[in-house]
Symmetry: C2
Subunit: 213 residues, 2 copies
Amino acid sequence: MRLAELSERSGVSAAMIKYYLRQGMLAPGRKVGATTADYDESHLRRLRLVRALIEVGGLTVARAKEVIGYVDDDSLDRTIRLGAALWALPHGPDPDDGDASVAVARVEVDRLLDALGWTTARELGELSPDHRALIVAVATLHRLGYSWDAEFMAPYAELMHRAAVRDLDFVETHPSEEEKVEVAVAATVLFDPVLRALHRLAQQEESARRYGL
Amino acid sequence: MRLAELSERSGVSAAMIKYYLRQGMLAPGRKVGATTADYDESHLRRLRLVRALIEVGGLTVARAKEVIGYVDDDSLDRTIRLGAALWALPHGPDPDDGDASVAVARVEVDRLLDALGWTTARELGELSPDHRALIVAVATLHRLGYSWDAEFMAPYAELMHRAAVRDLDFVETHPSEEEKVEVAVAATVLFDPVLRALHRLAQQEESARRYGL
Protein backbone atom coordinates (compact mmCIF):
# COMPACT_ATOMS: atom_id res chain seq x y z
CA MET A 1 0.00 0.00 0.00
CA ARG A 2 1.06 3.61 -0.49
CA LEU A 3 1.66 6.15 2.27
CA ALA A 4 -1.87 7.61 1.95
CA GLU A 5 -3.48 4.23 2.55
CA LEU A 6 -1.11 3.41 5.42
CA SER A 7 -2.13 6.71 7.00
CA GLU A 8 -5.82 6.03 6.48
CA ARG A 9 -5.68 2.48 7.84
CA SER A 10 -3.45 3.26 10.83
CA GLY A 11 -5.12 6.52 11.81
CA VAL A 12 -1.64 8.16 11.87
CA SER A 13 -1.15 11.31 9.77
CA ALA A 14 1.26 11.18 6.82
CA ALA A 15 3.45 13.79 8.53
CA MET A 16 3.74 11.64 11.68
CA ILE A 17 4.49 8.54 9.60
CA LYS A 18 7.36 10.42 7.92
CA TYR A 19 8.58 11.48 11.35
CA TYR A 20 8.56 7.88 12.63
CA LEU A 21 10.43 6.80 9.48
CA ARG A 22 13.12 9.45 10.12
CA GLN A 23 13.35 8.35 13.77
CA GLY A 24 13.88 4.73 12.73
CA MET A 25 10.75 3.63 14.61
CA LEU A 26 9.23 2.40 11.34
CA ALA A 27 11.20 0.45 8.70
CA PRO A 28 11.44 2.10 5.24
CA GLY A 29 8.92 0.89 2.65
CA ARG A 30 9.96 -1.00 -0.46
CA LYS A 31 11.05 1.55 -3.09
CA VAL A 32 8.81 1.47 -6.15
CA GLY A 33 9.88 4.75 -7.76
CA ALA A 34 11.97 7.83 -7.19
CA THR A 35 9.55 9.28 -4.65
CA THR A 36 7.14 6.47 -3.76
CA ALA A 37 7.42 3.43 -1.53
CA ASP A 38 5.23 0.46 -0.83
CA TYR A 39 4.18 -0.48 2.71
CA ASP A 40 2.73 -3.74 4.03
CA GLU A 41 0.95 -5.20 7.05
CA SER A 42 4.13 -5.11 9.12
CA HIS A 43 4.21 -1.32 8.81
CA LEU A 44 0.57 -1.09 9.83
CA ARG A 45 1.20 -3.31 12.85
CA ARG A 46 4.17 -1.22 13.88
CA LEU A 47 2.20 2.02 13.70
CA ARG A 48 -0.49 0.45 15.89
CA LEU A 49 2.13 -0.51 18.45
CA VAL A 50 3.56 3.02 18.46
CA ARG A 51 0.08 4.49 18.92
CA ALA A 52 -0.69 2.04 21.74
CA LEU A 53 2.50 3.01 23.55
CA ILE A 54 1.92 6.75 23.15
CA GLU A 55 -1.88 7.06 23.34
CA VAL A 56 -2.75 4.34 25.86
CA GLY A 57 0.55 3.86 27.67
CA GLY A 58 1.19 7.60 27.86
CA LEU A 59 4.83 7.20 26.76
CA THR A 60 6.78 10.10 25.30
CA VAL A 61 7.99 9.63 21.72
CA ALA A 62 11.55 9.33 23.04
CA ARG A 63 10.53 6.57 25.44
CA ALA A 64 8.49 4.80 22.76
CA LYS A 65 11.56 4.92 20.52
CA GLU A 66 13.63 3.23 23.21
CA VAL A 67 11.02 0.46 23.65
CA ILE A 68 10.83 -0.04 19.86
CA GLY A 69 14.62 -0.22 19.74
CA TYR A 70 14.56 -3.33 21.92
CA VAL A 71 11.70 -4.86 19.93
CA ASP A 72 13.79 -4.47 16.77
CA ASP A 73 17.10 -5.67 18.15
CA ASP A 74 17.23 -9.17 16.69
CA SER A 75 20.74 -9.71 18.01
CA LEU A 76 18.90 -10.54 21.24
CA ASP A 77 16.74 -13.61 21.72
CA ARG A 78 13.01 -13.26 22.29
CA THR A 79 12.98 -13.37 26.07
CA ILE A 80 15.64 -10.69 26.33
CA ARG A 81 14.07 -8.46 23.64
CA LEU A 82 10.69 -8.75 25.25
CA GLY A 83 12.04 -8.26 28.75
CA ALA A 84 14.10 -5.22 27.76
CA ALA A 85 11.11 -3.66 25.96
CA LEU A 86 8.75 -4.26 28.88
CA TRP A 87 11.29 -3.06 31.41
CA ALA A 88 11.70 0.17 29.42
CA LEU A 89 8.01 1.00 29.98
CA PRO A 90 7.39 3.60 32.70
CA HIS A 91 6.98 2.04 36.14
CA GLY A 92 6.50 4.80 38.70
CA PRO A 93 8.86 5.62 41.57
CA ASP A 94 11.30 3.13 43.07
CA PRO A 95 10.92 1.91 46.68
CA ASP A 96 12.24 4.39 49.24
CA ASP A 97 14.75 2.51 51.38
CA GLY A 98 14.31 4.91 54.29
CA ASP A 99 10.62 3.98 54.61
CA ALA A 100 9.72 1.42 57.27
CA SER A 101 6.68 0.30 55.24
CA VAL A 102 8.99 -0.61 52.36
CA ALA A 103 10.92 -2.97 54.63
CA VAL A 104 7.66 -4.68 55.63
CA ALA A 105 6.51 -4.84 52.00
CA ARG A 106 9.80 -6.44 50.91
CA VAL A 107 9.36 -9.25 53.42
CA GLU A 108 5.74 -9.88 52.38
CA VAL A 109 6.51 -9.80 48.65
CA ASP A 110 9.36 -12.29 49.12
CA ARG A 111 7.09 -14.56 51.18
CA LEU A 112 4.40 -14.26 48.52
CA LEU A 113 6.75 -15.23 45.68
CA ASP A 114 8.07 -18.18 47.69
CA ALA A 115 4.55 -19.38 48.47
CA LEU A 116 3.58 -19.09 44.79
CA GLY A 117 6.73 -20.78 43.54
CA TRP A 118 7.48 -17.87 41.19
CA THR A 119 11.15 -18.72 41.09
CA THR A 120 12.14 -16.37 38.27
CA ALA A 121 10.53 -13.38 39.96
CA ARG A 122 12.24 -14.38 43.21
CA GLU A 123 15.59 -14.75 41.48
CA LEU A 124 15.44 -11.47 39.52
CA GLY A 125 14.16 -9.67 42.59
CA GLU A 126 14.35 -5.91 42.41
CA LEU A 127 16.23 -5.98 39.13
CA SER A 128 12.70 -6.20 37.73
CA PRO A 129 10.77 -2.90 37.69
CA ASP A 130 7.54 -4.87 38.15
CA HIS A 131 8.92 -6.35 41.34
CA ARG A 132 9.83 -2.85 42.55
CA ALA A 133 6.35 -1.58 41.58
CA LEU A 134 4.75 -4.35 43.64
CA ILE A 135 6.84 -3.43 46.69
CA VAL A 136 5.85 0.23 46.31
CA ALA A 137 2.14 -0.68 46.01
CA VAL A 138 2.22 -2.98 49.04
CA ALA A 139 4.20 -0.41 51.08
CA THR A 140 1.59 2.25 50.26
CA LEU A 141 -1.17 -0.06 51.48
CA HIS A 142 0.75 -0.75 54.66
CA ARG A 143 1.34 2.95 55.31
CA LEU A 144 -2.39 3.59 54.88
CA GLY A 145 -3.25 0.93 57.46
CA TYR A 146 -4.12 -1.95 55.11
CA SER A 147 -1.59 -4.56 56.05
CA TRP A 148 -1.98 -7.04 53.25
CA ASP A 149 0.33 -9.93 53.88
CA ALA A 150 1.50 -12.74 51.60
CA GLU A 151 -1.46 -14.95 52.56
CA PHE A 152 -3.98 -12.24 51.68
CA MET A 153 -2.38 -11.49 48.31
CA ALA A 154 -1.71 -15.06 47.16
CA PRO A 155 -5.22 -15.73 45.75
CA TYR A 156 -5.08 -12.44 43.80
CA ALA A 157 -1.68 -13.39 42.45
CA GLU A 158 -3.05 -16.78 41.32
CA LEU A 159 -5.86 -15.01 39.43
CA MET A 160 -3.37 -12.68 37.77
CA HIS A 161 -1.23 -15.67 36.81
CA ARG A 162 -4.23 -17.22 35.06
CA ALA A 163 -4.70 -13.95 33.19
CA ALA A 164 -1.00 -14.00 32.22
CA VAL A 165 -1.34 -17.57 30.87
CA ARG A 166 -4.15 -16.32 28.62
CA ASP A 167 -2.08 -13.29 27.59
CA LEU A 168 0.77 -15.49 26.43
CA ASP A 169 -1.57 -17.94 24.71
CA PHE A 170 -2.87 -14.92 22.77
CA VAL A 171 0.67 -13.80 21.90
CA GLU A 172 1.43 -17.29 20.57
CA THR A 173 -1.45 -17.15 18.09
CA HIS A 174 0.71 -14.71 16.09
CA PRO A 175 2.90 -16.49 13.58
CA SER A 176 6.19 -14.63 13.27
CA GLU A 177 8.77 -14.01 15.95
CA GLU A 178 8.62 -10.27 15.27
CA GLU A 179 4.85 -10.17 15.67
CA LYS A 180 5.02 -12.11 18.91
CA VAL A 181 7.33 -9.54 20.48
CA GLU A 182 5.27 -6.62 19.15
CA VAL A 183 1.97 -8.05 20.33
CA ALA A 184 3.37 -8.91 23.76
CA VAL A 185 4.49 -5.32 24.28
CA ALA A 186 1.21 -3.90 22.97
CA ALA A 187 -0.83 -6.28 25.13
CA THR A 188 1.01 -5.27 28.30
CA VAL A 189 0.00 -1.67 27.71
CA LEU A 190 -3.48 -2.35 26.35
CA PHE A 191 -4.71 -4.99 28.81
CA ASP A 192 -4.46 -2.75 31.89
CA PRO A 193 -7.40 -0.45 31.08
CA VAL A 194 -9.64 -3.37 30.08
CA LEU A 195 -8.84 -5.39 33.20
CA ARG A 196 -9.33 -2.35 35.45
CA ALA A 197 -12.74 -1.62 33.90
CA LEU A 198 -13.78 -5.29 34.12
CA HIS A 199 -12.68 -5.42 37.76
CA ARG A 200 -14.75 -2.40 38.77
CA LEU A 201 -17.76 -3.60 36.83
CA ALA A 202 -17.44 -6.99 38.54
CA GLN A 203 -17.28 -5.29 41.96
CA GLN A 204 -20.45 -3.41 41.14
CA GLU A 205 -22.17 -6.58 39.91
CA GLU A 206 -21.13 -8.62 42.95
CA SER A 207 -22.22 -5.82 45.29
CA ALA A 208 -25.65 -5.71 43.65
CA ARG A 209 -25.97 -9.49 43.98
CA ARG A 210 -25.18 -9.37 47.70
CA TYR A 211 -26.98 -6.23 48.78
CA GLY A 212 -29.44 -5.45 45.99
CA LEU A 213 -29.30 -2.48 43.72
CA MET B 1 -5.84 10.44 71.22
CA ARG B 2 -4.86 14.08 70.81
CA LEU B 3 -4.24 15.87 67.51
CA ALA B 4 -0.46 15.33 67.71
CA GLU B 5 -0.86 11.56 67.99
CA LEU B 6 -3.50 11.48 65.25
CA SER B 7 -1.03 13.33 63.02
CA GLU B 8 1.80 10.96 63.90
CA ARG B 9 -0.24 7.79 63.38
CA SER B 10 -1.93 8.93 60.17
CA GLY B 11 1.10 10.55 58.58
CA VAL B 12 -1.00 13.66 57.93
CA SER B 13 0.33 16.99 59.22
CA ALA B 14 -1.59 18.79 61.98
CA ALA B 15 -2.24 21.70 59.59
CA MET B 16 -3.80 19.34 56.99
CA ILE B 17 -5.92 17.65 59.66
CA LYS B 18 -7.29 21.06 60.69
CA TYR B 19 -7.99 21.79 57.05
CA TYR B 20 -9.93 18.51 56.61
CA LEU B 21 -11.88 19.31 59.80
CA ARG B 22 -12.85 22.73 58.41
CA GLN B 23 -13.84 21.12 55.10
CA GLY B 24 -16.09 18.64 56.91
CA MET B 25 -14.11 15.69 55.52
CA LEU B 26 -13.25 14.62 59.07
CA ALA B 27 -15.75 14.65 61.96
CA PRO B 28 -14.87 16.91 64.93
CA GLY B 29 -13.17 15.20 67.87
CA ARG B 30 -14.84 14.88 71.27
CA LYS B 31 -14.26 18.15 73.18
CA VAL B 32 -12.19 17.61 76.33
CA GLY B 33 -11.29 21.22 77.06
CA ALA B 34 -11.53 24.70 75.68
CA THR B 35 -8.89 24.09 73.02
CA THR B 36 -8.36 20.32 72.96
CA ALA B 37 -10.32 17.46 71.46
CA ASP B 38 -10.02 13.72 71.59
CA TYR B 39 -9.84 11.60 68.43
CA ASP B 40 -10.37 7.87 67.98
CA GLU B 41 -9.81 5.05 65.47
CA SER B 42 -12.63 6.29 63.24
CA HIS B 43 -10.70 9.55 62.68
CA LEU B 44 -7.57 7.62 61.88
CA ARG B 45 -9.45 5.44 59.40
CA ARG B 46 -10.97 8.46 57.74
CA LEU B 47 -7.59 10.16 57.29
CA ARG B 48 -6.25 6.99 55.70
CA LEU B 49 -9.15 6.96 53.25
CA VAL B 50 -8.55 10.62 52.36
CA ARG B 51 -4.85 9.94 51.80
CA ALA B 52 -5.66 6.87 49.67
CA LEU B 53 -7.99 8.93 47.47
CA ILE B 54 -5.53 11.79 47.05
CA GLU B 55 -2.14 10.04 47.04
CA VAL B 56 -2.97 6.79 45.26
CA GLY B 57 -6.16 7.70 43.40
CA GLY B 58 -4.79 11.07 42.33
CA LEU B 59 -8.02 12.88 43.27
CA THR B 60 -8.09 16.60 43.92
CA VAL B 61 -9.13 17.63 47.43
CA ALA B 62 -12.43 18.92 45.98
CA ARG B 63 -13.14 15.58 44.33
CA ALA B 64 -12.13 13.67 47.48
CA LYS B 65 -14.54 15.86 49.45
CA GLU B 66 -17.35 14.92 47.06
CA VAL B 67 -16.59 11.19 47.43
CA ILE B 68 -16.42 11.53 51.25
CA GLY B 69 -19.75 13.37 51.19
CA TYR B 70 -21.45 10.28 49.75
CA VAL B 71 -19.67 7.97 52.20
CA ASP B 72 -21.04 10.09 55.06
CA ASP B 73 -24.58 10.50 53.79
CA ASP B 74 -26.40 8.00 56.00
CA SER B 75 -29.77 9.06 54.62
CA LEU B 76 -28.82 6.70 51.76
CA ASP B 77 -28.60 2.94 52.14
CA ARG B 78 -25.27 1.19 51.74
CA THR B 79 -25.55 0.21 48.08
CA ILE B 80 -26.46 3.75 47.06
CA ARG B 81 -23.79 5.38 49.25
CA LEU B 82 -21.15 3.04 47.97
CA GLY B 83 -22.30 3.36 44.37
CA ALA B 84 -22.40 7.15 44.53
CA ALA B 85 -18.94 7.31 46.11
CA LEU B 86 -17.40 4.92 43.56
CA TRP B 87 -19.12 6.66 40.67
CA ALA B 88 -17.68 9.99 41.84
CA LEU B 89 -14.14 8.64 41.34
CA PRO B 90 -12.44 9.85 38.15
CA HIS B 91 -13.13 7.58 35.18
CA GLY B 92 -11.45 9.05 32.12
CA PRO B 93 -13.22 10.29 28.99
CA ASP B 94 -16.68 9.15 27.94
CA PRO B 95 -17.21 7.14 24.74
CA ASP B 96 -17.22 9.28 21.60
CA ASP B 97 -20.48 8.53 19.79
CA GLY B 98 -19.06 9.65 16.45
CA ASP B 99 -16.42 6.91 16.57
CA ALA B 100 -17.12 3.73 14.60
CA SER B 101 -14.97 1.69 17.02
CA VAL B 102 -17.23 2.78 19.88
CA ALA B 103 -20.24 1.31 18.09
CA VAL B 104 -18.40 -2.01 17.71
CA ALA B 105 -17.26 -1.92 21.35
CA ARG B 106 -20.83 -1.30 22.58
CA VAL B 107 -22.05 -4.42 20.78
CA GLU B 108 -19.21 -6.57 22.16
CA VAL B 109 -19.61 -5.26 25.72
CA ASP B 110 -23.36 -5.97 25.65
CA ARG B 111 -22.72 -9.46 24.30
CA LEU B 112 -20.08 -10.00 26.99
CA LEU B 113 -22.42 -8.96 29.82
CA ASP B 114 -25.19 -11.17 28.45
CA ALA B 115 -22.84 -14.16 28.20
CA LEU B 116 -21.64 -13.58 31.76
CA GLY B 117 -25.13 -13.09 33.15
CA TRP B 118 -24.13 -9.77 34.73
CA THR B 119 -27.70 -8.55 34.80
CA THR B 120 -27.15 -5.46 36.93
CA ALA B 121 -24.35 -4.19 34.73
CA ARG B 122 -26.53 -4.87 31.69
CA GLU B 123 -29.48 -3.05 33.23
CA LEU B 124 -27.53 0.01 34.42
CA GLY B 125 -25.72 0.15 31.11
CA GLU B 126 -23.91 3.40 30.42
CA LEU B 127 -25.33 5.04 33.52
CA SER B 128 -22.34 3.35 35.15
CA PRO B 129 -19.00 5.10 34.56
CA ASP B 130 -17.27 1.71 34.75
CA HIS B 131 -19.42 0.49 31.90
CA ARG B 132 -18.47 3.57 29.89
CA ALA B 133 -14.80 3.05 30.75
CA LEU B 134 -14.99 -0.53 29.48
CA ILE B 135 -16.49 0.63 26.18
CA VAL B 136 -13.72 3.22 25.78
CA ALA B 137 -11.01 0.63 26.51
CA VAL B 138 -12.45 -1.92 24.07
CA ALA B 139 -12.96 0.76 21.40
CA THR B 140 -9.31 1.79 21.76
CA LEU B 141 -8.21 -1.80 21.26
CA HIS B 142 -10.40 -2.09 18.21
CA ARG B 143 -9.04 1.13 16.71
CA LEU B 144 -5.50 -0.18 17.21
CA GLY B 145 -6.30 -3.39 15.37
CA TYR B 146 -6.88 -5.69 18.35
CA SER B 147 -10.45 -6.78 17.87
CA TRP B 148 -11.23 -8.38 21.17
CA ASP B 149 -14.73 -9.72 21.08
CA ALA B 150 -17.03 -10.93 23.84
CA GLU B 151 -15.69 -14.50 23.60
CA PHE B 152 -12.09 -13.36 24.00
CA MET B 153 -12.86 -11.16 27.00
CA ALA B 154 -15.18 -13.49 28.89
CA PRO B 155 -12.46 -15.55 30.65
CA TYR B 156 -10.75 -12.32 31.77
CA ALA B 157 -14.07 -11.05 33.09
CA GLU B 158 -14.57 -14.30 35.04
CA LEU B 159 -11.14 -13.87 36.65
CA MET B 160 -11.97 -10.28 37.59
CA HIS B 161 -15.26 -11.44 39.06
CA ARG B 162 -13.40 -13.86 41.30
CA ALA B 163 -11.19 -10.98 42.41
CA ALA B 164 -14.32 -8.91 43.12
CA VAL B 165 -15.78 -11.71 45.27
CA ARG B 166 -12.59 -11.64 47.36
CA ASP B 167 -12.72 -7.81 47.52
CA LEU B 168 -16.22 -7.90 48.98
CA ASP B 169 -15.38 -10.74 51.37
CA PHE B 170 -12.59 -8.48 52.65
CA VAL B 171 -14.97 -5.54 53.01
CA GLU B 172 -17.32 -7.74 55.05
CA THR B 173 -14.63 -8.55 57.61
CA HIS B 174 -15.08 -4.97 58.87
CA PRO B 175 -17.70 -4.74 61.60
CA SER B 176 -19.55 -1.43 61.25
CA GLU B 177 -21.61 -0.21 58.34
CA GLU B 178 -19.53 2.97 58.16
CA GLU B 179 -16.27 1.02 57.99
CA LYS B 180 -17.62 -1.24 55.25
CA VAL B 181 -18.38 1.74 53.01
CA GLU B 182 -15.03 3.38 53.77
CA VAL B 183 -13.03 0.23 53.16
CA ALA B 184 -14.89 -0.54 49.93
CA VAL B 185 -14.02 2.90 48.52
CA ALA B 186 -10.40 2.67 49.69
CA ALA B 187 -10.03 -0.83 48.26
CA THR B 188 -11.28 0.23 44.83
CA VAL B 189 -8.52 2.82 44.65
CA LEU B 190 -5.82 0.77 46.35
CA PHE B 191 -6.29 -2.60 44.64
CA ASP B 192 -5.53 -1.32 41.14
CA PRO B 193 -1.78 -0.75 41.58
CA VAL B 194 -1.32 -4.10 43.36
CA LEU B 195 -3.24 -6.05 40.72
CA ARG B 196 -1.40 -4.30 37.89
CA ALA B 197 1.98 -5.10 39.45
CA LEU B 198 0.97 -8.72 40.13
CA HIS B 199 -0.26 -9.07 36.55
CA ARG B 200 3.00 -7.87 35.03
CA LEU B 201 5.07 -9.96 37.37
CA ALA B 202 2.94 -12.98 36.45
CA GLN B 203 3.47 -12.27 32.72
CA GLN B 204 7.21 -12.19 33.30
CA GLU B 205 7.11 -15.40 35.33
CA GLU B 206 4.98 -17.24 32.76
CA SER B 207 7.20 -16.00 29.94
CA ALA B 208 10.30 -17.32 31.73
CA ARG B 209 8.59 -20.68 32.27
CA ARG B 210 7.76 -21.03 28.58
CA TYR B 211 10.86 -19.60 26.94
CA GLY B 212 13.52 -19.57 29.64
CA LEU B 213 15.09 -16.53 31.18
